[in-house]
């Protein structure tokens, strides 16, 4: 459900922001994170966190660094916020999803463990991954 005046409140990017800013509490204030990310107005990060505004794509690298998250993860979540935006859609059509450094390691492990056979997500594979995450 989209709340009036906060159209992006239920996006995964907002959830990630809330989590990371909470984790950084005591070490860096939201104001400091905002400045480090390069937002011209300190209130901009608060508006994004509240779901009132989208994260501009040109702020992804700076905010990712300020939060200590992989920029590819933040870019994907930013594109989710811009669903319907033709620029974002064109970008995703051309380049596909952005993978994080950790995901590259996962993919390398999957390729090696499977003997480079491009394995499908079988029931057994799903069970293995669920087991890894305790779900």
């Amino acid at each position: 459900m989209k709340m009036f005046g906060r159209p992006h409140v239920n996006t995964r990017l907002v959830k990630l922001l809330e989590k990371k800013i909470l984790e950084l509490r005591g070490r860096r204030s939201q104001f400091e994170i905002s400045a480090e990310a390069g937002f011209p107005q300190p209130t901009m990060l608060a508006m994004i966190k509240s779901g009132a505004s989208k994260l501009p794509i040109d702020r992804v690298p700076g905010l990712a660094k300020a939060l200590g998250v992989d920029p590819a993860l933040l870019l994907n979540l930013t594109f989710e916020q811009t669903a319907g935006d033709t620029t974002a859609r064109a970008f995703m059509e051309i380049f596909g999803t952005a993978v994080t450094r950790n995901e590259v390691i996962w993919l390398t492990e999957i390729r090696e463990a499977s003997g480079h056979v491009d394995p499908t997500m079988t029931t057994r594979a799903r069970s293995a991954i669920r087991g890894i995450f305790g779900k």
Binding site: R12, A72, I94, G96, T100, V104, A113, D118, F133
Partner: protein
């Protein structure tokens, strides 16, 4: 759709492009980890290898 549509965009290059199956793997990992971007541990690597041992 050709494979070049699935290459990564931010500097982390694989030795070959992502396949459709690999996109499914990554999607499943993202779902289960709630986008926490976890790094594989020794235990996870062992579990993965076990999953591919012929039964």
């Amino acid at each position: 759709m050709t494979s070049h549509h699935h290459r990564p965009v931010i500097g982390y290059l694989l030795d070959k492009p992502l396949s459709g199956n690999e996109r499914a793997w990554i999607g499943f990992i993202r779902l289960l980890s709630d986008n926490a971007d976890p790094s594989p541990t020794l235990a996870t690597v062992q579990a993965l290898r076990q999953a591919f041992v012929p039964s």
